[in-house]
Every structure is written in structure tokens, then in C-alpha cells.
Amino acid sequence: MNGEWTPNDSASRGPLLLLLAFGILWLVVSAGLGIIASFQLHEPEFLSEYAILTYGRVSALCETAFVYGWLANAGLALALWVLGRLSGEPLRAQNWAVAGTLLWNASVAAALVGVASGDATGFEFLGLPSYVQLVMFFSYGAIAVAGLLAWSGRIRRVSFASHWYAVAALFVFPWILSVVHVMLFAAPARGVLQAIVAGWFARSAWALWLAPLSLCAAYYVVPKATGRVLPAYGYAAPGFWCLILVGGLAGGRHLVGGPVPAWIPSVAAVSCVLLLFNAFVVALNLRCAFSSKAVELRFISVGIGAYVLSAVADSLTTFRAVAERTQFTHADEAQGQVALYGAASMILFGGIYHALPLITGKAWYSARLVVAHLVLAVSGIILLVGSLCLSAFVQSRGLLDPHVQFSEIFQHARPWLLMATLARAVLLLGSTVFLANFVLTACGISEAYRPASLGPPSTLEAPGP
């Protein structure tokens, strides 16, 4: 069980390939929607005659497709794969996983149709109309059953960091979704409490669901692919509990100076600083990824770097002096892209590049396309975050000066927003390359490529000591 293919991998091929296929498809859809939304920022009249494509709706569609389409499907696929491998047995309850996957993706599609046709909720990270939330709750539960059975039925009773992150992610999402469904839709909270609850959900969805999903893959793939024991592994458990304990407390970080009690953004600031410990531990544990030449570890090392960067940026921007400049600007969008694309997606890309040859029993169709995807994704995300930061800088200067009109801010930020659209186009190209390579591999046409990590078998039994 060291990087080599095992019979258990092909036994769970069906549900995993289904999850991955939906995930990558949604990635391309969301990249396309992202270009429309980005284009509308510098050409406001673009597609303005269509009610279904207002900027507010398209940006919600893009986010929903990305978070609930791409990140959720791909993260769940890798989590199930990791849990299945660590259990030492074929994945159980595969029918549940398949049924859950079909239902989940049907509800993502229904959510997109709902938002476009006027059921948008207006909450960040929660563009799901209330009627799909129950379906998503149950379909996520059905997928999670397979993972939880693999966890509870594992042959060896020890557990590893990948276990903790995967199981936490499986439990957390239904829990926070049900809370937010009750408090925002079934029995809506009063006034600004809605903003506080929505902020708590958005933060928890990142820190307790999406980040653990990708860290579970990173903690499994890095030791497998490098063949080395994780350094300073003893800190992994405190790092994990730090994330779970204080991750959701940063829910009020957008509300600095807002009409809420001042302790809410203050708690967020403290929690974001405490989370630096988790980012530090992750970087410490997985640092051997940086020195490796394997292509999947290139993706993962970029992801780990972005994860640390996003933790630093989060803690800086919750301080009032910084928030005064960055609040309400594109800096928030830039931070979101660092976390969701730079950290989570890059780690998931690396995980998929490592896992798919084992799941299918075939090497990737084209090694060149893998490298092309790496170059496009890394350059795209750097360009996107860079241009958003520059436009945020222009915006921030304009917003702070009461004599500067919004039309002036718009004109000054426009060149940078144009660059952001270019970056989105690069990312769309990268995603399309990824989709093409995935489809060709899944159809099994070529044996041309074999990840470097599949080369020398190592003696490592499992991640960690």
C-alpha cells in the first residue's frame, strides 16, 4: 500500500470517477461564469439586457458552481479514496455514494437555475436557494456514509492526520448547513443576526469543510509521493484541533466597523491569529513537498504556500487599521481566490494527479497536458490575485478620499480589472486542459505517462509515524 496500485482501488473506481467527473465539469462551468462576471466589472453593459445574467447573479453562480460543484465533488472523491485506502478494504456502501453523488449534482444544477431565475439568497458562500438545501443535506450524508464506514471499519485501529481532516469534513458540512438552514431560511433570525450567521457559515465552510477536505488529500499524498515520514508529525494533532476549535470563530471578520457588537470582529481577529498556528504546522509537516520534482507535488506545494499566505492575509485584514483600507474592496475577492483556488484547488489538483492513475489503473493520457495545466493554473492564479490586489489598492485609495467619485475609482481600477479577466481566461484554459486530460485518461487510450512518484516503491506503510 505505498504508491502502488491495489485491487481495492479498482473496486471503488465507479463512485470515485463519477465524483471527479462532475467536479471537473463544474470547474470548467464556473471558470466560464467567472469570465462573464469579471468582464462585467470593467464593461458593465456586457449582457446587461438579460435578467438572468446581472453581475450579482453571475458572481453568485460562479461561486456556487465552484464551491458546491468543483471543490465539494473533488474533495469528497479524494476523501473517500484516502479513507478507503487507509481502511485496507474495498470501499463499502458504494451504492449510497453513487446515489448521493447524482442527487448532489442534480441539486447543484437546480441551485444554479434557481439563482439565475430569481431565488438568489444574497449570502456569501450560500447562493443555494432554500429548497435545494435539504436535498443537499441528505445527498451529502449518503456520500459520507461510504467514508464513515471505511473509517469505522478500518483494519488497523490507529488513525492518521488524513483521517482526522477527512472525518471532520464529512461531519461538519451537514451540521453547519442544517444550522444555517434553520437560522436563515426556516425561521430567519432578526436583522443583523442574519449577517452574523451567514458570516459564521461562510467561515466554517472554508475552515472546517473545504480546508480539511484538501488537507486530508495533502497529508496522504505528500508522504506517499515523497516516500518520507512527515517531519514534526507530533504537531499535526494540535494543529488539527486548533483549526477545528477556532476556525468558525472568525465568522465576523467581514463585519469590522459594521452594525454589530464590537466583540464579534474582535473574536474574529483573535481566531485568525490563532489559526496561524495551524498554517504553520501544515507547512512544517508537509515541507518535503517543496523539494520534490514530482508534478503532483508541484501542485501541492503551491497549494500549501497559498494556504499559509491566505492564513496570513486573513489575520492581517481583520485588524482595524488594515480593514479600514481593505474592507469592501477587491482585496476580499483576492483573498477568496488565494484560499479557494490557490490553496484548496491546487492541493486537490495534485491529489487527483496522484490518485487517478491508481483509481483507473492507467497512467495519465498526456504528461504534457499535466505540465501545461500546472503552468496555466499557477500563472493564472498569480495574475488574478495580483491584478485584484492592484485594483483593490486603487479602490482603497479612492474610497478613503471622500472627494473621489465612484466613476473615477471605476476608471482607475479598470485596467487592473481587465487584467483580472485575462487571468480568468488563463484559468479557463487550464481547467479545459485538465478536463480534456481527465476524459482521455478515463476513457483509457494511452499508457504514455506515469507519475514520477509511481517509480521506486518505498517502504512507507502509511502517512506519519
Binding site: Q40, P44, F46, S48, E49, A51, T54, Y55, G56, R57, A60, A120, G122, E124, S152, V167, F171, V172, W175, M183, P188, A189, R190, G191, V192, Q194, A195, I196, V197, G199, W200, A237, W241, I244, L245, V246, G247, G248, L249, G251, H254, L255, G257, G258, P259, V260, P261, I264, R320, E324, F328, D332, E333, L399, L400, P402, F406, S407, I409, F410
Partner: protein
Amino acid sequence: MKSDLGFFLGLFAALGVSYAGIVLASNAQLGSLAPFYDDNNDSTYPKMSLGVSVRGQLVYRDLGCAACHTQQVRRPSFGSDQARGWGDRQSVARDYIYQPYPQLGLHRIGPDLTNVGDRKPNALDADAFYRLLYAGSWGMPSYRFLFKARRIGLEAQPSDDALNLTGALEPEAGWEVVPTQRARDLVGYLVNLRTTYDYPEAFPVTAAKPEGAAPGAPAPKKVHRPAPPGAGGPAAADASGPMPAGAGAPTPAPTGAGGAR
């Protein structure tokens, strides 16, 4: 992580911390926030939302207006909100208690809309909103799908609500542009966005000037401004005139929230 049960319980407890810390604690503090009762004019604030405001807020929400516009004014020392004339005071939680879907917003690609129906001296009226929505402006798209073109002639009288369009936007002879019901709701909501009443908590303790202040005359710690007499109704608010500056004599206006209970 010796036992699975221990791990699960730990996970649940850790999640409970953030849930109790953020969601339950803020609910306990704000969940039963009452309207403010003002003895001076025997009325409570904020006023209940009008029907058109509630419908318009749904339009505002489903079009995603909050992707570009916030509805929260921060305090004077924080950003340029008040210097831009967006409001005379910071927004407080009590402003939102009657709004079914408060739209605080996260981005300011366009201006804040907190008090957009009552800004002095240049508050927009309904006609200006219709024109803005129909024509768009720098950085803001037009929303033509909220309007429809109508033929006028012998069969159809010209509508009172027809947009007064000039220049390139002027419709052909025999045609006029009228707002749909959704546009009426949205504009009805926008012109009624007013935070005219000054709650005591909207003027938090201001720090005394460290130097230059005369020793015998300490700076007032809490500044209450007298509420405009008819701040509630839309028609009355327009007539209330400019408010006195914040440094005016502290009046024995509302003290504490006791009167609200």
C-alpha cells in the same frame, strides 16, 4: 486519537464552541432587540417596513444588488462614509430589526445605499432612480429588463409613470417607457431607505481631546442629538430640515433603552 468515540465527541465539542461563541452568543445579545421608544414624540423607532419596501427588498436581493452596494455606514473615524454624506451617524443593529432580509453587503463597487432616500442635499427621488436604472452610469449597468416600452396613441393614454427620457435614450414618437411592477417595488424600497432617527447607541462615547481642552470644561462624553420631530414618516422627514451639528448642547433626549421595554 485513541478511540473513535473520543475523536467524535471532541469534534462535536469543538464545533459547539464556535456555534455557541458566535451564533448563540450574538443571538442572546441581539435576538430580542426591541424598538426604541422616544418619550418626546411618543413613538417607537425604527418604523415598520412599508409593504412596497418588503417587496422591493426581494427584488434587490434576487438581482444581487448587494454584490456592489453595501447598506452600512461606519463610524466617522473609520473610512470616509460620513464624509461622503452617506449618513449622519453610524448604522446600528436596531436599524435592521424590521428588515426581513438585511442587505449589509460586502463590496463597494458602487456607493453605499443606507440612507439613500434621505441624503442631504442631493437625495435621489423616484424619477432619478428610474432614470439611473434605465440608463446605467459609470460602472453601473442599465437594467432595461425592469422597464417596458409601450405604444401610446388613441387606444392607450400616456402613463403618468412614463420615464422622462432625453437625448439618445428618448423613445420614438408614439412610444413611451414605463417601469414594470418589479421596478416600482425596487424604487419604492430605495426611496424609503432612511435612517433618520438617532438612537443613543449610534453615538458611542467619544474620547476627550488630550490637549487643548480647557481643564474646567471636559469634553462631553456622550453626545445626544435631538431627534427630528417627525423623523418617521417619509413626508415628514423631508420637512425636518438640516440637523444640528453633533457638538450641539447635550439635550435631555432619550437616555437608555429603558423606555423601550
